[in-house]
């Protein structure tokens, strides 16, 4: 029994932290989020491809989440998580060569008004799709989309397919582009896999890992600010009304991290535990991400509410992450179904 990362996993973490810190300083995050049409540049994507990051999930889920946490920490605007997610589904269907050569992909999951992630209703008849998907991340940058359709099936649509229209939505979290994707008799190919559950669990856990990184960063910013900001002639961090919420942040971030590591490990080594572990990790990390970023904003006071301050990127990313692949309440429902 050993809860520590292996040497290789620590290397991934170190490399990622250094690379992301160099490439995604706050100015660049802000520029990509607010000015860059697709939210990233080709040069940035090419560098990640050279590092082998799009295929990292092939090494193992633990390796994947180590990097996902760092992406969250950097709030890096990149289509990498969207591509990972789609690649898990493609790999389950033995179709991952579709992403060879650094191609990008995304999953089209949500339909208007839906709350449960596992009940797609999009029409899939005679080899073509019709209907609307919303909040599809990075759709305009994707070379292909994996679309969930009625009956829990999965269909691949290549970019530029007839009857496919992609419209950018105004998203709360500007560090991740979201789109409306409309299908009008769009041709697709159905994917078949023996096991759809495992890839979905891995996708869910990777998203939870991002939230851990977001929470970690927000906590560090809050603690640093509490040390330097003085009011009534004392650093505000010396007041328990400020320091105790910071301690609470540590409790939640470490709790989320433990749950996420465990779930990733279970996916790789103890598949029978993975369903409950993944839902526990997602529920806890989603809540922790939201609470920690909100508490960090409170510690910052007025400055944290300004557009100029960087904290709102973390707050918004945490809220957006919390909704992807089933929210905390939905995953608690899964935990109840599996545990009670």
């Amino acid at each position: 029994m050993n809860f520590e990362l292996s040497e290789d996993q620590r290397d991934i973490k170190r490399t990622a932290r250094e690379f992301l810190a160099a490439r995604y300083p706050w100015d660049e995050v802000r520029r990509l989020a607010l000015e860059e049409e697709r939210g990233f540049t080709d040069a940035q994507w090419d560098e990640m491809t050279e590092l082998g990051w799009p295929e990292l999930g092939d090494l193992g889920t633990v390796e994947l989440i180590v990097l996902a946490e760092e992406l969250g920490y950097a709030v890096a605007p990149t289509p990498l998580p969207s591509t990972w997610a789609a690649s898990r589904l493609l790999a389950a269907a033995g179709e991952d060569e579709r992403l060879a050569g650094g191609r990008r992909a995304a999953i089209a999951q949500w339909e208007p008004g839906q709350r449960a992630p596992d009940a797609p209703a999009l029409a899939w008849e005679d080899g073509s799709l019709s209907g609307l998907k919303v909040a599809v991340p990075d759709a305009a940058a994707a070379d292909l989309l994996v679309v969930t359709v009625a009956g829990g099936r999965h269909v691949v649509v290549e970019a530029g397919a007839p009857g496919l229209s992609i419209t950018r939505s105004e998203s709360l979290d500007t560090t991740r582009r979201l789109y409306e994707v409309r299908f009008d008799g769009t041709p697709g190919e159905e994917l078949t896999a023996e096991d759809w559950e495992s890839p979905w669990l891995a996708i869910t856990v990777a998203n939870a890992a991002e939230s851990v990184g977001v929470g970690q960063r927000a906590m560090e910013m809050a603690v640093a600010y509490a040390k330097e900001r003085t009011q009534f002639d004392r650093p505000i961090g010396s007041y328990q009304a400020v320091s105790h919420p910071c301690a609470q942040m540590l409790l939640e971030v470490e709790g989320a991290r433990a749950a996420v590591y465990w779930a990733a490990w279970a996916l790789d080594h103890e598949p029978e535990t993975a369903p409950v572990a993944a839902s526990m990790a997602k529920a806890y990390a989603a809540d922790a991400g939201r609470r920690v970023t909100s508490a960090a904003l409170q510690v910052h006071g007025g400055i944290g509410f300004t557009w100029e301050h960087d904290l709102h990127f973390l707050l918004k990313r945490a809220h957006a992450n919390a909704r992807m692949y089933g929210d905390a309440a939905w995953h608690r429902g899964r935990v109840a179904a599996l545990s009670l």
């Binding site: 029994m1 050993n2 809860f3 520590e4 990362l5 292996s6 996993q9 633990v62 603690v223 509490a226 040390k227 004392r234 650093p235 961090g237 010396s238 007041y239 328990q240 320091s243 105790h244 910071c246 301690a247 609470q248 540590l250 409790l251 470490e254 709790g255 433990a258 749950a259 590591y261 465990w262 490990w265 279970a266 080594h269 103890e270 526990m280 529920a283 806890y284 309440a329 608690r332 429902g333 935990v335 109840a336 545990s339 009670l340």
Partner: protein
């Protein structure tokens, strides 16, 4: 990262599981004194098997087990629904303190009867005027022929009426700063100068006691770790309390959670969405407690110290245990106005969880100052 048990760990788990299946003593009696005698007998049996002091070094009658094996043992005890041992404080705090700071004579005199539950131990730290600010304690120990004469008052002394020995911290030097003038003693409870009075709690029972000490005698050879060095010895004891008990506490949460699920089913509310949501959240929190407990253990094994998560266990446990009891009360609904054991008892008892063994506020201060590096309040 590897969360599987090693072959040795798995063999140990199977050994414990098999032994417990054959030797489970049945339900604990409800009467307090009978329950204590029962737990004493149970500890004796575990000690005969070599498991009472599982993580103690072999030379002191322990089994020299690793932290992970100790954790496995707690989990198997919980899984089997086996009772607690009687001498919890002696096993988790007193013994380890004597092993770390005691003389050879103290080790040969005190350790074996702790393991056999022949001599029960209690802890005399808190005082009416010294709760969170423990170092301000006022119980005085004055040099006398061959030892010390002690006068003062202690409170929240668990099992004092059953105890032979008290881990007592008293002030031996009033002229130095408050942390420096304290001494750690082992005080014989069986003497005229020690008066134990039960302290009635909000549960109506008397699990704790007040200790009135009037000119009690402690021989020189019952000083542990040197005169005026009691603060650092006491800290060792508290660290043992937190590390060792943290694991056992999360195991207890898992047992109660199983019972809570049964309660919800019996009361027909298992499908109520609000109840299910809270039950699921508790399952998640209980799992996080367990994972962090394991993370702490592997951190200690790999690096000699737990990571930041090690400071969080007791505080998090208190929150989870309180929420668990509150959910039970909500499941019982209007009938929770009536005594409904064990849940109404647990509801009341859990209110102490965020106070005993370090208040949540003090633990948050520790995390804020020592882990996050925030300035002192």
């Amino acid at each position: 990262m590897d969360l599987t048990l090693s072959d040795t760990e798995r063999a140990f788990r199977d050994d414990v599981r098999g032994w417990l299946a054959d030797n489970h003593p049945g339900p604990t009696p409800t009467d307090d004194d009978a329950a204590f005698a029962f737990r004493r007998a149970w500890q004796r049996r575990l000690n005969e098997r070599g498991w009472a002091g599982l993580s103690w070094p072999e030379e002191f009658g322990g089994a020299g087990a690793t932290q992970v094996e100790q954790a496995i043992f707690y989990e198997e005890i919980a899984r089997a629904g086996a009772p607690q041992m009687a001498n919890t404080l002696g096993l988790a705090m007193g013994g380890p303190t004597v092993i770390a700071h005691g003389t050879d004579d103290q080790k040969s005199r005190f350790l074996a009867p702790i393991l056999s539950a022949e001599e029960i131990w209690c802890q005399g730290f808190s005082e009416p005027q010294s709760g969170s600010d423990l170092a301000s304690l006022r119980t005085r120990a004055v040099r006398a022929d061959g030892g010390f004469r002690v006068t003062g008052q202690k409170v929240w002394t668990t099992w004092a009426h059953q105890s032979k020995w008290c881990m007592l911290v008293a002030r031996t030097n009033p002229h130095v700063s408050k942390h420096r003038g304290l001494t750690y003693f082992l005080m014989d409870m069986e003497q005229d100068g020690v008066d134990v009075r039960p302290l009635r709690q909000i549960t109506g029972e008397s699990e704790f006691n007040e200790l009135f000490i009037e000119d009690a005698f402690i021989p020189e050879e019952h000083v542990v770790g040197g005169v005026d060095n009691g603060w650092s010895v006491a800290i060792t004891t508290l660290m043992h309390e937190r590390a060792g008990l943290a694991f056992a506490l999360q195991v207890d949460v898992h047992i109660q959670l199983r019972q809570l699920g049964e309660l919800a089913r019996e009361r027909g509310v298992i499908d109520d969405p609000g109840i299910r949501d809270r039950l699921a959240q508790l399952h998640i929190e209980a799992q996080v407690l367990r994972l962090n407990a394991y993370r702490g253990l592997t951190g200690v094994m790999n690096r000699g110290a737990p990571g930041p998560e090690g400071s969080l266990g007791k505080w998090h446990w208190a929150e989870v245990n309180q929420s668990l009891a509150e959910l039970a009360i909500d499941i019982l609904g209007p009938e929770s106005q009536l005594a409904h054991p064990p849940w109404t008892y647990r509801f009341l008892r859990s209110r102490a969880n965020s106070i005993e063994g370090g208040t949540t506020e003090i633990l948050k201060n520790i995390v804020a100052e020592r882990v996050l590096g925030l300035p002192r309040a």
